[in-house]
Symmetry: C2
Subunit: 816 residues, 2 copies
């Protein structure tokens, strides 16, 4: 978050008013509302943050009214004396309500000021426009970064095989393209030299093969070790896919540095390296993380978003959409992914902005055109034949298989991640990466299908056997007369059989290696590996169906449709459906998955098959194990994530969950009888973020809620600046005065009191409490009975309770 790096404006104004000198004037501006409102003081306090060196920051757009929007604490030089200053602490939950209210107040302030001068009008317009400007910038940057990553990864992937000596910066395809040698196979040309050829070996023969093999492994090792070391040294947060953490952050949790600039840089570089190393991983999840880093960094250009955690999350949701959009060239899919899978608070305004952001990013990436591909979609498919109705049966079958494969992967991966977490293995992340890389490289190279990059393999599997496809997969007993001739159904020849054999090998290898790879300490996603697994399963399934139709054309499934001799079964379509099924089984995405798939392939006609498979896959997956991979990793890491998809099914009441438990005393502050010393003792002895204020210990009727941070600030300030305030001063949260005061003058703190805390009764069922926490984004709620305060429920308590009810260890929730 690096709040402190934001360009600061020092102020040395010292004012005489005791606690917050300019509250009064600010309040006047906010008219009616803020003079009684409860957010004002807190709001102003939030604007105070310390720079890394301990200086007090303030904003001071003084205008002719003499309004000081500044809140400074006089001559405070050393913020170490005032702990708790700053927005939120690391690993804390944000208070959505308060942040949104702050933003509304800021907005009202701007609207009011607008009439004052032209400059204020411009400021207001800038404010209204800034959301769009911000997502525009994010879209632009995400597109550019994605382009760079794509180009880099493509070049370095080819570098493992050889080099273009005349122009080393070209990858194989570009190298051959620049040589103007045309042919069906654009990847074989005289300008491109394999490493064996560079070393003077003939291009075929055992020696050349060995040299290529060794070079392949060495490059892979180099890339992987670089990637792992970079991550380890500079940005430990850059490893993994990042989506579980982003889900947690978007749900209102603070993880400082997770979306910082170092993470961005290292994740981008590391991603290029790890993708190039040939490990079984994809770049799509990390792309979401990268986009969110960009979103977070750019949001600091607009204080409206950078300084308001709740508003910032709107921008991050849009960024996540842009990330998926560039990963797949799927803007609509990206928005739906953000909506369905990642985001927590998603107002409609965000939907529209997300779409804009995703579209800009996709457009920029397409303009960069890193793949040199004419089509805007990654795996463009165009099948001659539509699917036939009875094919729905095998498609649903594929969906079931996809659900099973997905569950196997999730369980295996979780087992391994848990083992890593609790064993010595976790201490040697770089070694683990290297070992995984070596094993992957050794096994992958001999098999043609695992040697090529995963995207190439998917593209090959999705494609239809036309005249231009010379792979073994298309070794059928048929002749093409010209490009436009119909593709007849035909018998598979030996090439197809050997291809299937290799594909089965590839499937097993990819499944195992991906299980071990997802979670190692390099940037790694699992969209592309999942798609690949599914595509292999689907292609094999499809070839089986095709041969079935060839041998039994009279079967009820094929009659009517396949009788004309045309090929009615397209194995490529099965590959596509299978890919969707496995990805669905792994991530449990639904609508967004289908949309991504058809944006990815351009196949609008195949929504029904994709949908059927995705649905079957999700149902089977949910039946076998409840959580998708991201939720499973959230649970594994114990992130405080209150899932809005799960319904709370238990029957406990608020009284069962609230703190303190029976026989413990609730920490409260009374409104007019505790001294500064009393409260300071309380602050020292307890660690709560805030304290309820009640009428008195005897009649604990709730008056309001006060934050620890505000108390600390006020005390430190008051002691320094108001004469007579000492430890024995009574703290007053009321308007009146003490009736017969003989001691030191009282300290009036009504202004820092939140007089509208959310309360519930002790008989409220927990399902409603959980709902309120989710929908209102609460940080805590106060529990009352007949108006008397009984206790507090914090988000941590809720999370613990949910875990406990699900028979899990409640202490696995990260400290909140």
């Amino acid at each position: 978050m690096k709040m402190e790096k934001y360009p600061l404006k020092r102020t040395s104004s010292s004012s005489t008013s005791p606690i917050s000198p300019t509250y009064q004037s600010v309040n006047k501006k906010y008219t009616n509302y803020s003079s009684r409102a409860i957010y004002t003081p807190t709001d102003e306090m939030i604007d105070i943050s310390t720079s890394a060196t301990g200086d007090v920051i303030s904003r001071s757009p003084d205008n002719e009214d003499g309004l000081q929007y500044t809140v400074s604490f006089g001559a405070v030089q050393d913020s170490t004396e005032i702990p708790g200053i700053g927005q939120y602490d690391d690993f804390h939950t944000i208070d959505w309500q308060r942040d949104i209210a702050r933003d509304r107040m800021r907005h009202r302030y701007l609207v009011k000021k607008k009439q004052d001068s032209i400059w204020n009008l411009v400021e207001g317009a800038h404010d209204a426009w800034s959301g769009w400007l911000c997502v525009l910038l994010i879209g632009l940057c995400t597109g550019v970064v994605a382009g760079v990553i794509d180009i880099g990864a493509s070049w370095m992937t080819d570098l493992k095989f050889g080099i273009c000596p005349e122009a080393f910066w070209l990858n194989q395809e570009q190298c051959c393209w620049s040589s103007n040698e045309t042919g069906f196979d654009s990847r074989n040309c005289s300008h491109w030299y394999t490493w064996a050829e560079i070393l003077g070996q003939k291009s075929d023969g055992f020696g050349a093969y060995t040299i290529s093999y060794i070079f392949y492994i060495l490059w892979a090792l180099l890339f992987a070790s670089l990637s792992a070391s970079l991550v380890r040294m500079f940005a430990p947060y850059a490893c993994g896919s990042g989506i579980p953490e982003i889900k947690t952050i978007l749900s209102g949790f603070i993880i400082r540095g997770y979306l910082g600039k170092w993470t961005l840089i290292i994740k981008s570089v590391g991603l290029i390296l790890s993708v190039s190393s040939g490990l079984s991983l994809g770049k799509e999840g990390p792309m979401v993380h990268i986009a969110c880093c960009i979103g977070n960094i750019l949001s600091y250009l607009f204080p409206k978003y950078g300084r308001n955690e709740a508003k910032k999350r709107e921008i991050l949701s849009a960024s996540a959409a842009a990330g998926v959009s560039v990963a797949f060239g799927a803007p609509i899919g990206g928005v739906l992914f953000s909506l369905e899978e990642v985001s927590y608070y998603f107002p409609l305004k965000t939907l529209w902005r997300s779409f804009f952001c995703a579209l800009i990013a996709a457009f920029i990436l397409r303009s960069i055109n890193p793949f040199g591909n004419e089509h805007s979609v990654l795996f463009y498919v165009e099948y001659n034949k539509p699917w036939i109705f009875s094919e729905l049966i095998p498609f649903i079958g594929l969906g079931i298989v996809g659900g099973i494969v997905g569950t196997i992967f999730i369980k295996g991966n979780l087992y391994w991640c848990r083992y890593r977490k609790h064993s010595k293995l976790g201490k040697y992340p770089v070694t683990e990466v290297l070992v995984t890389t070596v094993i992957t490289a050794i096994i992958a190279y001999p098999n043609r299908y695992t040697r090529m990059s995963t995207s190439q393999l998917i593209y090959l599997l999705f494609s239809q056997c036309g005249i231009s496809n010379v792979d073994d997969l298309c070794d059928y007993d048929r002749n093409f007369t010209d490009v436009n001739s119909a593709i007849e159904i035909a018998e598979a020849r030996s090439g197809v059989r050997s291809a299937i054999y290799l594909l089965v090998m590839a499937l097993v290898l990819k499944l195992i290696m991906t299980t071990f790879t997802f979670g190692i300490k390099v940037p790694c996603g699992l969209f592309i590996p999942s798609l690949c697994l599914g595509a292999i399963v689907g292609r094999i399934w499809g070839i089986g169906m095709e041969q079935l139709a060839f041998y039994y054309p009279k079967n009820w499934m094929f009659t009517g449709e396949c009788s004309t001799g045309d090929n009615c079964i397209t194995p490529g379509l099965y590959a596509m459906v299978g890919a969707a099924a496995v990805l669905g089984g792994v991530t449990r995405m639904t609508v967004s998955l289908v949309v991504i798939m058809f944006e990815l392939t351009g196949g609008v006609r195949y929504i029904v098959p994709l949908m059927a498979a995705a649905m079957a896959s999700k149902w089977v997956g949910d039946a076998l194990g409840k959580q998708g991979i991201y939720d499973a990793h959230i649970a594994l890491n114990g992130y405080p994530f209150l899932d809005s998809k799960d319904e709370f099914q238990h029957t406990s009441l608020a009284a069962d969950v609230m703190q303190p438990k029976r026989n413990e005393l609730l920490c409260v502050i009374t409104q007019d009888s505790m001294t500064v010393d009393d409260i300071e003792t309380l602050l020292k002895e307890t660690e709560h973020n805030g304290y309820p204020v009640v009428v008195s210990r005897e009649s604990p009727y709730l008056v309001g809620f006060v934050l620890r941070r505000d108390l600390n600030l006020s005390f430190a300030n008051a002691k320094r600046m108001i004469e007579g305030i000492c430890g024995q001063s009574v703290v007053l949260f009321t308007n009146g005065n003490l009736p017969h005061n003989l001691g030191p003058p009282p300290l009036k703190l009504k202004k820092i009191l939140d007089m509208a805390p959310i309360t519930i009764t002790d008989q409220t069922p927990m399902e409603i409490v959980v709902d309120m926490f989710r929908k209102l984004g609460l940080r805590q709620t106060l529990v009352t009975h007949n108006g008397r305060l009984l206790g507090v429920i914090t988000k941590k308590d809720v999370l613990r309770h949910v875990r406990q009810m699900d028979n899990e260890d409640p202490n696995s929730v990260l400290f909140n």
Copy 2:
């Protein structure tokens, strides 16, 4: 809603327990929770509803435990004695929290029972599956109904022009198709006879023209009068588009009969008639209404949905998606429309089910294939040329024009509707329809473009000028050698000029007539007319651009792209973009609009132009007038709709809004000091739906909230069945007994007390209160200060306050 029509099962079981004989046994089953929970009694009470004849209904799936799930009130024969029975009254707001809680309890009960027997297991499985089954059925029915409507409307539209004497049930296209005469224009063949030909006139000549003209007007009048009379006589709710009302219903409002079977039937028939009458209206909005009727009716097959208003709204959201899906063949667009425009409460589960429902409906409709169209999309387009970057400027220009046209339409339509509402005009709906029809028919017939059906016109405008297009619009100075030849840029000839003249006429006519038509008392939507307006504007704009490119090929906008002599400007694409722009200007849809447009046209490549235009249109529209047509109609009709898109921007506090105002007395019930008579007097004197229960008048600390309905039921029952209960009995809402009771025995009513009402403090800003009402779906909230009850805020109060703050008449909110 026709709750009372639902098949009933009478029960005459009389039990001896005083108030609610089977609460105890039910509670036992609900374990822990319900013995303390607050929803139980209310829940059971809700299951009681009266049939139209006043009988008490109950469900009694008695099982071997002797558990009576029945709640009956003894020998109650005449429900007129117990007013307020039944779920919700007409024009009342639903309580989302309570309904959802009821459903959760029901679910838990089923889960618990599941272990008891195989039958219960099946019941549980059926329950889990019923949501999917329900949307499946809705999808099927919606698809079929939409197919019937499409076929009927298409046949009757052609009936205005002529008939197929050999097979009168065929429309013109099918008639010609069955005659096997092939040609570019499939609509001219010898089997089809115009009315003039039937009457023996030559097919050309003035006489034939006049006869056709007259027949056209007569048929139009017949259809329109039939439609209007049907609506007036049988289902007044069937008029209009229905989307404003559905938005209101989905936001949690009850309008009985609005989604009933009569509305369904009349709306379907009326829609066919009104579309065929040639009025300037579309069938898309009404299709959403029809789908929601189907959803509502089918939901009664599944008590989980039919008897729970909150759950039913999940089904209705899915139905709305299916409605758009069949209207446009756009399942994803339908889901997004439902999400963005219509729905209020849209959990993720609903997203997935909506998608399923929309897909099934679209699939069924495609299988019926009412248009005989090979493509699954309504206006399939395939342009040879992609758009060029600099074209974004004219596209954005189109967007601006679209926003302006949309606003003109909204303002004009609102003005006319308001006039209709407040003048004599409103008393003669049928006459208005007839006059509108005659005027439309008279003006429309002479112009070729307004004479054809609006869909045909849109299709023509969207299409590209290829070899097969013989319309005047494609009268360019070029020759086609064969179908595959490139379309060169060429000079427009006189045909294009005359076509433009006619199109401008058509534009003016359609704009004026649609303004007057939307709102008349026949089923009418405005999607298709809006699309048509936009397509005309866009096509003209596009032809202009094209000719610009022809005459100034060296202009910076066209260089590089148009220099090859190919036609780089496709006027059809402009028509598509213009259509999106005007529709966006009218409805203010965004993402769903773009998705609908590309599903409608199959043009995935044109997202960026569509998006740019939609965005420009929305911004311009929002700048000129804030509300879209649906929101404007909601405001016009004063529906109690709390828009979740608008942010509440004012600074009032809960204390300003709550009832009672200063100097009035709050109606409360004390927990242990009021007699039955006291409370009955209170019930008679006031009309509130519920009353807060406090400790005592002197210390009004909140204990709970009790509903008027529950009080009435309990009193009536108790007086009849518990001995000694009379008007002087003290009503106890506590557990204990009266300390020294000398009078009649007390009536214990703790079980009907909701002990977890949502409360807020009087200092809570209204923005938070509004947020809570929206997000938690509250019906009312109680306002406290230091634990003491001060007042109540109902949804009606909130709506009134919002209106008041927006300087509108607060009394325009429908009585709630």
